[in-house]
């Protein structure tokens, strides 16, 4: 079920009303049932996979905790480590099977044919594997819980249903944020009463999320898809504009989903973490990654970068660790060389920046112009990396790079720009909407949340803002039969 579908418009109020009508002890059960219904709408069979992964990590957590209580500390530590490793292998094995079989199968077949190995191995079975929606998210979330238990940062959850809800909580199940047990599990254990302020805030946040998704992301997608899916036909500025638009498309798509999830959760009195923090105002790639997909970056930092040694083992090792983390992050996003290149490129930017800064004192009082240049430079570097991400295929990415080196400035004035599915008027709306997003994000960068500012205003101002936002979505949004309802991009990961 998609947030931007009619089904969700029906599903959400029903779940909410019943949630607040039933006794407290059944609330998490009701949310669990609703979450499984939400998930199994895509494919009922994948509900079983979700259940299996949930059960595995639940049992693993309890077992690790039980082992830890044994008197022989050395023995218990090694047993807990084995148990953790087993659970990690099983879960990551499931993830790899669904996500990388086709990718690895393809390369394996190629390798055999290149080496002229006289063995016939049929790898076509890998092509029938369909990636379950959200698997990368819920597996990372449940593994995070397991590692936290192992590290004794939290107690293992005894109530299976509550734990199952932690893994499958529907607003963030399929595209994050990848929540930490310390935040979400605790909140699930203490159901809140219906709060007027939460609902009001949730409504604002959800509406803003839908605006980002339907007015910006899905509109930009029309242009981006046209160029990227016909990469040998378009050149120069078309590719540049499409890539810049893609930067906003992916941001609004993913940020949109994250805050819709946040808004929906607020209706249930649950506060999800912020997944984005004005990333395109970053002054460096490293800062960008502290502000982009915060839950994933945090996960990789805590469960991969730090265990690898982080920055504690010298400069060179730190850079190697960074490259490993970003290459893995690229691979997490998709089973393709282009995604690995995208991840490695982001890692490379930071390694270069570290090397440059190592020999230079930090300039504490950077002027405004320099700050703007830094922001712009960072944005361009990120856009360059997005090109590989969107192309999804190295050969297409290379074609795009080759075709980009062509100057066709005339398309800015002769109207050809508006022949790629977005009319001049809707292009203007898109640019204005991106401008509004820029203003909201700038405030956020200054630590001022627009929603917090809004809820302080007079109630009638709030009413007017929400109605205007809803109508802007209805009038300028991409939905309905003339558009293919676009899934959220991060569902595929």
């Amino acid at each position: 079920m998609l947030f931007n579908s009619i089904d969700f418009v029906v599903f959400f109020p029903i779940v909410l009303i019943i949630y607040y009508c039933i006794p407290i002890k059944y609330k998490h059960l009701w949310l669990l049932l609703s979450s499984y219904y939400f998930y199994m709408n895509w494919n009922p069979a994948y509900g079983l996979l979700l259940f299996f992964c949930t059960f595995l990590t639940y049992a693993g957590g309890l077992f690790i905790e039980k082992i830890r209580k044994q008197e022989n500390k050395d023995k218990s530590a090694s047993q807990a480590k084995i148990c953790l490793a087993l659970c990690l292998c099983l879960n990551l094995g499931i993830l790899c099977y669904f996500k990388y079989s086709r990718f690895l199968g393809g390369y394996f077949s190629k390798l055999i044919s290149v080496l002229h190995v006289p063995v016939e191995i049929n790898m076509t079975w890998t092509e029938s594997i369909i990636l379950p929606v959200g698997i990368s998210f819920y597996i990372l979330q449940s593994l995070g819980y397991l590692i936290d238990v192992y590290r004794k940062e939290i107690y293992a959850e005894k109530n299976f249903f509550r734990y199952a809800l932690f893994v499958s909580f529907f607003p963030q199940l399929v595209a994050g944020p990848i929540e930490r047990s310390k935040n979400l599990l605790v909140q699930l254990a203490q159901p809140q009463k219906l709060s007027w302020d939460n609902c009001k805030k949730g409504l604002f946040i959800m509406s803003w999320g839908f605006f980002l998704k339907l007015v910006i992301a899905d509109r930009a997608a029309i242009f981006v898809d046209m160029v990227y899916e016909n990469c040998d036909r378009y050149t120069g500025l078309y590719i540049v504009i499409a890539t810049v638009l893609f930067a906003f498309q992916i941001y609004c798509d993913f940020y949109g989903y994250s805050i819709i999830a946040k808004g929906v959760s607020l209706f249930f009195g649950i506060r999800l973490m912020d997944n984005f923090d004005a990333p395109y105002f970053s002054k460096s790639v490293a800062e960008f990654w502290r502000r982009w997909h915060i839950s994933l970056s945090g996960w990789f930092r805590d469960y991969l970068y730090i265990p690898l040694g982080g920055n504690r083992k010298g400069f060179v090792r730190k850079q190697i660790n960074k490259m490993i983390v970003f290459a893995v992050s690229g691979l997490w996003h998709g089973a393709s060389i282009a995604f690995i290149v995208w991840g490695a490129l982001n890692g490379f930017y930071q390694v270069v920046a570290d090397i440059v800064h190592r020999n230079r004192k930090a300039n504490q009082s950077a002027g405004k112009i320099l700050t703007v240049c830094k922001c712009l430079g960072t944005f361009l570097l990120i856009c360059f990396a997005w090109l590989f991400f969107r192309a999804g295929d190295m050969s297409d990415a290379l074609v795009l790079l080759r075709n980009m080196c062509c100057f066709n400035w005339e398309i800015l004035v002769n109207g050809e720009l508006f022949t790629l599915g977005i009319s001049k008027e809707f292009f203007t709306v898109l640019i204005i909407s991106i401008g509004i997003l820029g203003c909201v994000d700038y405030l956020k960068y200054q630590k001022k949340d627009v929603v917090d500012i809004l809820v302080q205003k007079k109630w009638w101002v709030q009413g007017i803002v929400i109605v205007m936002l809803v109508y802007a979505i209805l009038v300028f949004g991409c939905y309905g039969v003339e558009y293919d309802t676009n899934q959220f991009i991060y569902f595929q990961f």
């Binding site: 007017i464 309905g480 039969v481």
Partner: protein, 447 residues
Amino acid sequence: MTQINLFISSFKKYYKRIGKILFVMLLCLSMKNILDYMYVNYDDSQWVRIIWRAFYNEEEIDNLYLGSSHVYCDLNPYLLDELNGENNFSLSTSAQRLNGSYYLLKEADKEKELSHVYLELNYGLATGKDGEFKDPDNLTANWWNVDYMRFSPNKLEYMFTMCDKENYPETLLPFLRYKTRIFDLNYIKEQVEGKQKENYKNYEFRSENEQGQIIEFYEKGYWKVTRELSPYGLLMEQKDGLQENPLTQDAETCLRKIIEYCQEEQIEITLFSTPVYELDLIATGNYDAYVSQINEIAEEYQIEYYDFNLCKEEKLPLQSVDNFWDTIHLNSKGADTFTRVFWDVVENNQKDYFYDSFEEKLNNAEERVYGFTYSKGTENREFKIASNREENLEYRVVNVSEDGEALIQDYSTNKEFSIPYDTSGKCKVEVRRIGETEAFQVMEIMY
């Protein structure tokens, strides 16, 4: 005392919140109305707007006529009032399909004391492919109805069953149907000005062309049209051909629901099909398949079905261009003739006015050419002369264009010839019986 104060303060708090929610809802509604006023085309749905207002204003209705444009063009309720002394009302709307008729019937039954329902069954709106009722291209007619129906559970049910869920936004918010014109300032100006015109405000419509031919709307469900069928209308595309049991599953289900609803509510129901220019039925390939399926259903429920396309020509002499304004709608002259025969038939159950099949009717009618049917070839349009005889007739066809006359074929029994796609003009066809020297019919057909 403290508890009372607490109760009062919490009551005030909730009261204020409800007020705030109502304010937002009112704001939403106002925005919707403003946008509807700006974008909803005032001209397209004028008829539906007029008929729904007239329907709700009508004090009582004895005989209700449901159906598509064929009903409001072909049946004159004012003449019916004179003929039967009862109150007749035609709640007929453009392209009304049977799912629409069902909800309109329920609305009429809810609002009025009905004694008899006459349901029109046009083959064009009941055959085709399954799922066509919910096809986005066919939703406009239903949308117009729900736009002007009063709010009720029946209206809600109609709204949510008429279309797939992807179309709910456009169903609920009419201005969304005009999203492609969202920046068209001329269009907005046209709509706002159109809605400020006196005739629009007064629920009136009358248009007159240069030849003095008029179209005028009448409140009881009647279009008075004085236009005549033009030579362009005598050329029709050959349809795929109706198969056995050609009603779509949707249409059959709705038809049965309508009949069963009437029988449960003890409202008499009669089914009928209005007469069309026979070229239209010849182009269907097998109209009798449709007639026999409706007859079977009517027999099953023991109700009457009158297909006036099967009516004997001497009883209903309509097959000339001066009775139609297009091939499927009668003009006011044809409507007056038809309305009288219609009431005679339904009142006196004049079964002997009808042939058993359309084929039988064609064979018994005078030899005649109705026009041309055509199918699309690779390079040419393949024309076929539509007549009611397979033998005994010879045709001479002449192409008349700006360059002069060119003979396509001299008198011959051949009915088929080709015309290239990128040409337009006029064909003159002369028809004579084999063995005779003089043509008994000359017809000009524009293409």
